[in-house]
Symmetry: C2
Subunit: 204 residues, 2 copies
DNA sequence: AAAGAAACTGTACGGTCGGTATAGTAAATA
DNA sequence: TATTTACTATACCGACCGTACAGTTTCTTT
């Protein structure tokens, strides 16, 4: 059982994340967070040294959750097939399904949020953001390397670029989904990426 | 020759855009803009009714410029080939070249910026944002329809989704380029989209 | 039960925010 | 020359910003 402090901390992080994704980092005041959580300013500063400290913990939590999420989907894909290409394709299908099953449209990605407010956060957060993208790159690249080792690509492609393409599709798909208020778009785009992977490595 | 007022107006818009792409909309104060432009608050409010009014004009200008930019590249592509598929492929190559020739990394896209601060701008700006994405969709879709009319796609694909994919690649590519501080990524991603189009319609 | 640490509340601070108002002025235009 | 355009300069507002800290309650350990 998490201590009371941990619970409050988690509540602050949870609510702050939602607010920041809708209003931006600079646009979300500490008072906004206090209003939603019900705690007072002193309580907030007991847990965090300030807004930038909040941003750092927020991003850390977000990246860890995302990593866990991706890992879980890859593990599930690995139980369903032994072939690296099929695993990748299954992973993408599972990811698309998860995005389709969200209650509303995707709330947004903190990495993109901070990327567009880079001057509002300190160098630590910017660096953390870079590392976050890099860890996604490595996660996807690892699988794509396995694919490329077994299947000759139709055209010579870089696994890193292809890994980045998935990140780009996710980030871009989220932006479009947000603006159109239609989660289907992110799903469609993920499936297009999947088709591209199939064209590259599968004998279609 | 633009009148003195027009010049000042343009200067405000130009500087505000740069600031907003780096610090976000809420994170950019009117005072910030005054500092950079050298005008006073009275001067600013002579030209704009407030921050939201600025946002609207900013987005309008941005979308018009972008539309002109895309149109110019399509026209150039049309002078180089009569075939719709080749025109699309040339367009994408030209677009990638333009992105590669930017002096620094891509400064960002206002559409994404406002998408991640949707609660900070009024409904007019949000609607304008949607229309902006929609006009890109139509621009790309028009060309892709011509392609699909002449070339049977390898897999049945929706021209709208494929058009949105380009927008997503651009938006996502910009995010990655910003975070990694490397404009090459956006270029790579545009070329991957190009390869996907080739796989879909061309006999590779 | 006492002590101490953890988890806050309450309040106050100086600064800045977007926005408004107004008086004055220089330059372009009719 | 008269009028409009395009500002400057200054002052002000209430709201809110992030920060600080002294005090109080709640939990945990001994």
């Amino acid at each position: 059982m998490p201590s009371k402090g941990e619970q409050t901390r988690e509540k602050i992080l949870e609510i702050a994340e939602g607010l920041i994704l809708q209003k931006g980092f600079a646009g979300t005041s500490i008072d906004d967070i206090l209003r939603e959580t019900g705690i007072t300013k002193g309580g907030f500063f007991y847990h965090f040294n300030g807004k930038n400290d909040l941003a750092r913990h927020l991003l850390l939590r977000y990246l860890e959750n995302d990593q866990r999420f991706f890992n879980a989907l890859f593990e599930r894909a690995q139980t369903l097939s032994e072939d690296p290409l099929q695993q990748m394709l299954i992973f993408l299908k599972l990811l698309a399904e998860e995005m389709a099953n969200l209650p509303d449209t995707h709330p947004g990605c903190l990495v993109a949020s901070f990327a567009y407010e880079s001057q509002q956060v300190d160098a630590t957060v910017r660096e953390l953001n870079r590392r976050g993208l890099q860890s996604w790159r490595e996660t996807f690249q690892t699988q794509l390397d396995l694919v490329a080792a077994r299947y000759p690509a139709r055209t010579e492609v870089s696994a890193v670029e292809l890994a980045d393409m998935l990140s780009a599709i996710i980030e871009g798909g989220i932006v479009l989904s947000k603006v159109y208020a239609d989660q289907a778009i992110l799903v469609q785009q993920l499936l297009h990426y999947r088709t591209y992977i199939r064209f590259l490595f599968d004998r279609v």
